[in-house]
């Protein structure tokens, strides 16, 4: 019964999306106020119905209802409840349903809370949201129905990809989807503004919280995904330039650029066309990311739902939405009035510099990710572009970007005196010099990029708190603190990346029981090896006694797990976090009866990478609160005061 109710709710939600689109389009062409006013309630009803459909699917998964095809193929009654819940979106159909659910909620939020925009633009925005949802409903209902029944009913399900059985991963897709959907709302705003030619500060203020919100989720998603790959894949690395990682990085890069350009639009009414373009690009990157992951046209460790027909469907949606928006841009942007001009040496100038460099990195990542695909289309040759390309090309540009980040916030809007800017940078430059001296004296021989990274990180850390100097800290707005924390987070993360590649010590030993190995400040002794049965796996468990210098020894247990259903090997690394870094231990499958391969890494300050990521996201949250407070409520107050004055 629940499955049928879910399907019915899904069909009704699709009908509401159609209505939302149709009423919105009608409201734009006709003068009836009633039509325009009806769009918002329809958007809310749409969200409620799709939410109901999603709750139905969650219920089916929690009850392990094996008469539903999706539950039978991707769940198992013996799984812990958290993974049953996560199983809801750990597959193609369920994750698409989660997508439309969040999309619906996003539309309803715009309908209920958006007060800054004029009504026409808001109506156009909601119509565009309806159109986007409609495509995904068609996708779900015609090619990937999550509620399809299975007859005869199997005794039990076929499990979930064991790599996906991890608490961190349970929340990874929802986080990313929140980010993607936030980008879709920004996209809809851009489309709405293009249709009504209403591109200005009010539009930027309405759009900014969505960009900020999406950006926070994308930042958290990437940070968490990176840490997941670090401890789950057992390769000791934190970023692999895997196509799927790139697919999540590209929207983030576009969103970061957009976040900075929308500030220029909101504050100075500049960069109108560019901001619109970036909103479209940011959402297209989200869609392209989804397409690359789902279609399986690129080989990746992530490809779990490979199906060319589904790929075709997403590609079709991509063509409709992005192609449509690009064409609309070409037709309309000429009629949008040009924004305010500014000097090169100014806050705006610095933000344009930021946008250019971010776009360059975006293009580098896009080209690297798609090059194998292009080459295959043209010549039939298959190859893989690896880390050497990305590190060598994106690395230096990213360093330059971070350098620019230290100067930007210290510049005034509209026009600034280069001499004064250099004066304001005096202390960061001193810190940079001191760091250079320290590294030259003590670091020994490390690579050029890690060395530059460490030096720049020190300078940027000093520069990023500089905007707070000589200011009344109580009266400094919350979003300025947000910027400071986020920029400081970049410096912290950069320091972690540089320290990891400069100072990591590693050692690979075929250890016999009783043998001791050394890595960094630690000595590691293999005490014993045992077979451990788990709920749906069996593990080779190594008992390792670890001692740092003359400190208290302690025991850790890295495992090499063999999952039964489906058969798969994974390694559970044992990670010990100290204040100055992490000890990372992995056991591999034995090569012979008496010795076991143990890999050991000492990674100084590697945790800073993710600490920085968390700081960046936290800075975003501070900004979001500050902006919502000032932009929305402040703007509404201003409008009321103006009306009262008239």
């Amino acid at each position: 019964m629940i499955a049928e109710a879910g399907l019915a709710a899904l069909w009704l939600a699709a009908a509401m999306a159609l209505l939302q689109f149709a009423l919105g389009a009608l409201g734009l062409t006709q003068r009836h106020e009633a039509v325009k006013s009806a769009v918002a309630p329809v958007a809310v009803a749409h969200a409620l119905l799709t939410g109901m459909a999603f709750i139905c699917l969650v219920t089916l998964f929690l009850r392990s209802d094996m008469s539903v095809l999706l539950v039978a193929t991707s769940s198992h009654s013996a799984k812990p409840w958290l993974y049953k819940l996560a199983g809801t979106w750990g597959n193609h159909e369920g994750s698409m349903l989660l997508w439309v659910t969040i999309l619906g909620i996003g539309g309803a939020t715009v309908a209920l809370f958006e007060r800054v925009l004029n009504k026409r633009t808001k109506t156009a925005t909601l119509a565009s949201q309806g159109a986007i949802s409609l495509g995904f409903y068609a996708f779900l209902l015609f090619s990937s129905n999550p509620f399809a029944r299975l007859n005869p009913v199997p005794a039990d399900g076929q499990g979930l990809n064991p790599l996906l059985q991890d608490p961190g991963l349970a929340f990874h897709p929802p986080t990313l989807y929140m980010g993607y959907v936030g980008m879709s709302v920004a996209f809809s705003f851009a489309v709405g503004a293009l249709i009504t030619r209403d591109v200005g500060p009010a539009f930027a203020r309405a759009m900014r919280p969505w960009i900020l919100g999406a950006w926070i989720f994308l930042t958290m998603g990437i940070t968490a995904g990176s840490y997941w790959a670090y401890y789950e894949l057992g390769w000791g690395g934190w970023w692999f330039w895997d196509p799927v990682e790139n697919a999540s990085l590209m929207p983030w890069l576009a969103a970061t650029a957009l976040l900075h350009s929308v500030t220029v639009l909101a504050t100075r009414d500049g960069l109108r066309a560019w901001t619109i373009m970036l909103s479209v690009v940011a959402f297209s990157m989200s869609m392209i990311g989804t397409f690359l992951v789902r279609s399986g046209i690129l080989t990746s460790v992530h490809s779990f739902a490979v199906d060319p027909t589904r790929g075709g469907f997403i590609l079709l949606l991509l063509a409709l939405y992005i192609g449509g928006a690009m064409a609309l841009f070409a037709l309309r942007i000429g009629t949008v009035r040009e924004g305010t001009q500014f000097d090169v040496v100014s806050r705006e100038g610095a933000l344009v510099f930021n946008n250019l460099l971010l776009s360059v990195i975006l293009v580098i990542v896009l080209v690297g990710t798609l090059y194998p695909l292009v080459l295959e289309a043209l010549t039939g040759t298959k190859l893989s572009v690896g880390a050497p390309y990305f590190n060598a090309t994106a690395g230096p540009v990213a360093l330059l970007l971070v350098c620019g980040m230290s100067a930007g916030p210290l510049m005034r809007w509209r026009r600034d005196n280069p001499k004064l800017v250099i004066e304001r940078l005096a202390i960061p430059v001193l810190v940079l010099g001191a760091a250079t001296l320290l590294i030259a004296l003590f670091a020994g021989s490390i690579g050029i990029l890690p060395m530059l990274g460490l030096i720049v990180a020190a300078g940027v850390a000093a520069a990023s708190v500089a905007p707070l100097w000589k200011r009344n800290l109580k009266r400094t707005p919350l979003f300025t603190y947000g910027m400071v924390v986020a920029h400081l987070g970049c410096a912290v993360s950069l320091a972690g990346m540089a320290a990891d590649s400069a100072f990591t010590k590693e050692s690979l030993l075929a250890m016999q029981i009783g043998q001791t190995g050394q890595v960094g400040p630690y000595s590691v002794t293999l005490k014993g090896v045992s077979e451990i049965p788990g709920p749906n796996w069996s593990a080779l468990d190594a008992e390792l006694v670890v001692q740092r210098g003359t400190g208290t020894p302690f025991t850790v247990h890295p495992q090499s797990r063999t999952f039964k259903d489906p058969p798969m090997e994974t390694s559970e690394s044992a990670i010990t976090t100290a204040l100055d870094g992490q000890l990372y231990l992995v056991v591999g499958a034995p090569t012979d009866a008496i010795s076991f391969p143990i890999r050991m890494w000492w990674k100084p300050f590697v945790t800073l990478i993710w600490l920085g990521g968390i700081m960046i996201a936290f800075g975003g949250i501070l900004s979001l609160f500050g902006r919502v407070d000032r932009d929305l409520f402040g703007f509404i107050k201003l409008l009321r005061r103006k009306k009262a004055a008239i």
Partner: protein
């Protein structure tokens, strides 16, 4: 003129769409013969990765025994995917030699511990010279080499279980 440039994003997107569509429609596995197929192996000499002092050169292949030559890299993710298939072939008694491009010995050893070792010998081709002389453009690629050191067949891309019968047939043909 300005009007024209406004269509540039759309044109770029259309090109991207074309690439995606081709990628989706075209079959995923194709066999393109390199110019070296049917010819003797080019001269090369590489340092080995498995045992210190060991080397891999073209003379190694001229001992009457047909084998596979797999061009790979530890940083190449598709290469990880084909290792189980290669190990399966190794267990059937087929000798597989490897050429690792743009790689370091430590990384290769890590790769082998992580994924298993199908290789009897691995040559380190740090600047891709040997790879280029084989007429190979990327990783992974697999060549069938007969006992006289003549390249008989080239497989481009990941070796999937479906490709094994073809490769085995080519090896038998190279006897």
């Amino acid at each position: 003129m300005r009007r024209f440039w406004l269509w540039a994003p759309f044109a770029l997107f259309a090109a991207l769409f074309g690439v995606f569509a081709t990628g989706l429609i075209s079959p995923t596995d194709r066999y393109v013969a390199s110019g070296m197929v049917g010819r003797s192996m080019p001269q090369f000499a590489l340092d080995g990765a498995l045992v210190p002092g060991e080397r891999l050169d073209d003379r190694y292949f001229v001992d009457g025994k047909p084998r596979l030559l797999n061009v790979f890299a530890s940083w190449c993710i598709p290469c990880v995917a084909e290792v189980p298939v290669l190990i399966e072939m190794k267990n059937q008694g087929i000798e597989i030699t490897g050429i690792a491009i743009h790689d370091k010995v430590e990384d290769i050893q890590k790769f082998l511990v992580d994924n298993g070792n199908p290789y009897s010998r691995i040559g380190m081709d740090a600047n891709s010279r040997a790879q280029i002389s084989f007429g190979s453009a990327g990783v992974p690629e697999t060549f069938v080499v007969d006992g006289k050191g003549v390249i008989r067949y080239q497989h481009i891309g990941v070796v999937t279980p479906n490709d094994v019968p073809i490769i085995l047939a080519k090896l038998r043909g190279a006897q």
